[in-house]
């Protein structure tokens, strides 16, 4: 029974990813990504990583996917649903990807890793402890990064800045005179 659900989830995860890879429509690709992300969260739950799974849904579904959808809606014309994601030469990409996947699976089976049966249990407290003890520096750096990211994204999309960039493409003389 557990395996049946697992196989279902796995098929969704890989199928979503394949939909993303193969879809001619950007919105369908986004939906495939959504499906894949949710299924990956489910795979986390299979491995007793509930906190990570919920984080995955919160950040990816609630954040990244919404942003992606926003960008799709803001950037592509809303009429041409089905052909706004053109592909380039497919064959060499397919070749290289298949070779890569083959190598990776070869590496997996030739590596001779020893595995232990996993243990189930709550993880939130341990993750918190790790973040505040061993990985405190990383944690702080990530928060700094996020602040920088927020400020950066805000600055990048400021109206005046964009306009200025457009203006300086054409003629920068006017600006200099304005400054005087």
């Amino acid at each position: 029974m557990k395996d049946a659900i697992f196989i279902l989830v796995a098929v969704f995860a890989v199928g979503g990813a394949l939909l993303t890879a193969a879809s001619q429509s950007i919105i369908n690709a986004a939906l495939g990504l959504l499906l894949s992300l949710i299924s990956i969260a489910a795979l986390y739950i299979f491995q007793s990583a509930d906190f990570v799974a919920i984080s995955q849904i919160l950040v990816y579904v609630g954040g990244v996917m919404v942003l992606l959808l926003f960008s799709i809606m803001l950037s592509s014309g809303s009429t041409d649903f089905f052909k706004n994601n053109p592909a380039m030469k497919v064959f060499p990409a397919l070749l290289i990807v298949v070779v890569f996947a083959g190598l990776a699976i070869y590496a997996l089976f030739s590596a001779n890793l020893t595995f232990y049966p996993g243990q189930y249990g709550p993880s939130t407290r341990e993750i918190g402890n790790l973040f505040l003890k061993d990985y405190i520096l990383v944690f702080e750096l990530v928060s700094v990064l996020i602040v920088v990211m927020l400020v950066g994204a805000g600055v990048m999309l400021r109206k005046e800045l964009v306009r200025k960039a457009v203006a300086s493409d054409g003629d920068s003389k006017d600006e200099k005179e304005n400054k005087k």
């Binding site: 990956i40 995955q56 950037s75 990409a93």
Partner: protein, 107 residues
Amino acid sequence: MTSLLSENPNSYLIISVLIFSAGMFTVLTRKNILAIIMGIELMLNASALNFITFSFFRKSTLYSGHVFAILIIVLAAAEAVVALAILLAIFQQRKSVMTDDISDMKG
């Protein structure tokens, strides 16, 4: 090793490889920057899945894998925000999000 697929690490790792390959294929073939970003997200997720799998099956009391998965999630979110901000800025100027149209830097 148990006979259950869901308790066999290799099944997770193979799923991860497939998702990663799909992401790579997306990045390789798509012209739309948005699709490329999606491919990158797929690759990041595949690697996070690997972290969790190794954390669970190699030494389950060690939660560092979870920490790294969370870091990947957070950094992916940050990356997506910046990438999409850049994308929108590009779109405002050029009215296009296809990589062919913004390859001014080519030799």
